[in-house]
Symmetry: C2
Subunit: 153 residues, 2 copies
DNA sequence: GGCGATTGCTTGCGGGTGCAACTAACCATA
DNA sequence: TATGGTTAGTTGCACCCGCAAGCAATCGCC
């Protein structure tokens, strides 16, 4: 039966996906490394730069980054040390810590973004073309929809 | 210019991909966890079970798993401790260590595979349908081809 | 045959992450 | 107001991983 194992073409697609994702992430990390940051750092910069007043609550940021609370604490430690982010306590709820993008962090973001965008273009968007990019979005939209349907139940 | 940043649709596709991959891997890991192994462990079982005489040289296995030599050493440590894999020295080249799948490891593989296959079907193949699966393979084939073209140069 | 270069694997070390436990603060209800 | 439950964030611990160093064995070339 087709349900007990994968057909040859299914297996080909699946393994292609699994192995290429690994290489792709490594390539993106490698392109970002000369700038002194990781993909994780970059995503912090992106989210904070797009946030109102360039700041987010730790818990919201952790959710956005798909990171555990402790994971975010440690990641921010590094970014604070680099001067890209500041912690600020919240007046209205003293449990909350704001992660606030500094001017230096915003400058870093603007300096690095073009390179990273070019990297994504080179490794992903250009090889796929507009049609492939649309398919990529649709495919992972479908997978994500199924995932989020099942989980919160 | 379109080359300095991503269009809205490009950004949508890209973020959808990045975030869903994270959730997808977490879901696959979670489905595998009750069996007492990780995706990494499972992949070792797959490669060794498909290998000639159920064994591979460490360096070849590391390449197959996209793992550094030290990473493989540690992963095998765990699998040896669980009795799924044995190390065996090679007669013809005494630098080489064979990673050899034990009977217990093969049994584990056969016991777990149907569940994992079902997990992949549920989270990926079913939501996409045959056409989507083919697109998935093509997309990452294209990305992978571009990656491997550039690197070895 | 011999010696430098290469290959295969392991170990030390540091970085990144999640889980569980903990503290602090907020909230809801009596 | 008092108390139990919830939420936000940090810290301790363990795990996984890659890099660099080290060691052993093999290969290549004189």
């Amino acid at each position: 039966m087709a349900t007990d194992w994968l057909s040859e073409s299914e297996q080909h697609s699946w393994r292609n996906f699994i192995m290429t994702v690994h290489d792709l992430m490594a390539a993106l990390e490698a392109d970002l490394a000369p700038h002194g940051l990781t993909m994780g750092d970059y995503e912090v910069l992106v989210w904070l730069s797009e946030a109102e007043q360039n700041r987010m609550r730790m818990c919201d940021l952790a959710g956005a980054l798909q990171l555990s609370p402790s994971g975010l604490t440690r990641r921010l430690d590094g970014m604070v040390k680099n001067g890209w982010v500041e912690r600020a306590s919240c007046e209205s709820d003293r449990r909350v810590m704001w992660a606030h993008l500094t001017g230096s962090g915003l400058a870093k973001m603007k300096a690095v973004a073009p390179d990273h965008v070019a990297s994504v273009r080179r490794h992903v968007l250009d090889p796929l073309g507009p049609e492939g990019v649309a398919q990529l979005g649709e495919i992972f939209g479908n997978i994500g929809a199924r995932l989020h349907d099942a989980q919160p139940a």
